[in-house]
Symmetry: C2
Subunit: 181 residues, 2 copies
């Protein structure tokens, strides 16, 4: 970050008055350019006991499996974002339910929110960012080829809760690319 997006002036990294950490500030127009974590929203979606998984067509982790998830956009709720990602990546329509997992991915400056969801029909397919989409039985899930630790964490907690007939919220902090068993 070098230039002010409002006036084009050269930014300086300083601690603004009344603040306690360095920010990029424009000496010309005095705008403070805050940098904050991004929210990723996704869902573990089910159809007749099967879980909806997509194989990624894009980096990072192209070729690996994930549940539908992506960056939350402006002008939508977290649930709407999770449903939109499912529509875009898996061509599937879902009704979102309870919050399944809140995962802090601190090194990536992201917070991941996964919701439980039910598919409205069995229809699904590969969206532009997916190589393929499958409805998988629990025993067929390719645990060694899951794209991200937060996704593995959400899926494992989902399946455990389903077996117990509960819907808990699970919180976790994930650092770097450790596996989250």
């Amino acid at each position: 970050m070098k230039f002010c997006c409002h006036c084009g002036g050269s930014l300086k990294l300083i601690i603004p008055n009344g603040d306690n950490r360095e920010r990029f500030v424009c000496p010309s127009c005095h705008h403070v350019h805050y940098q904050n974590p991004l929210t990723v929203v996704g869902c573990v979606a089910e159809w007749e006991n099967k879980i909806l998984l997509c194989r990624r067509a894009i980096e990072p982790r192209r070729g690996y499996w994930t549940v539908p998830a992506g960056f939350m956009e402006n002008d939508e709720t977290a649930c709407e974002g999770a449903a939109r990602e499912t529509r875009e990546e898996a061509l599937a329509e879902v009704s979102t339910g309870s919050l399944l997992a809140l995962v802090d991915v601190v090194h990536a400056r992201q917070i991941h929110l996964f919701f439980r969801a039910r598919m409205k029909t069995a229809d699904c397919g590969a969206g532009e960012e997916s190589l393929e989409t499958q409805l998988m039985d629990e025993d067929d899930i390719p645990w060694n080829d899951i794209a991200f630790p937060s996704v593995e964490f959400a899926m494992r907690r989902y399946l455990e809760d389903r077996r117990r007939g509960v819907e808990n919220l699970h919180m976790k902090e994930i650092k770097w690319r450790k596996r989250a068993k």
Copy 2:
């Protein structure tokens, strides 16, 4: 947003290849400037049945009451952010617990996460952004002078759950400045 923060070039609002919505894109360096919701983290903190409230010293809603909350920063978890805001605004140390409320404040392009918390000691005071801080009994809470609907929502659900001896997660979408009873 007019200028590229990387190269200073003039931005254009276009739909990038493979995308489905308008973004600010730099024709010179091709950087896409995404704009995404911000996360606000806070907590309803308790000491011997009293709730920790701050009266805001800054706009918006200067003079109104809130629980400690503010924008989540990079390099912290959501819980750490809620505890940091409590330290900054109420000069109080807390242990955060379960997630109390997830509130989508869509028009403000924010998602608010409120955690339950316990104060480690009775010590508290007015941080730089607070006019005063008080530990309040439930009956003394100034419901007509709460700064934000998301805060009122979180506090009401907290107190209801406390009466019932449960710790549920409450989700809500708040539009504009309607009261959230």
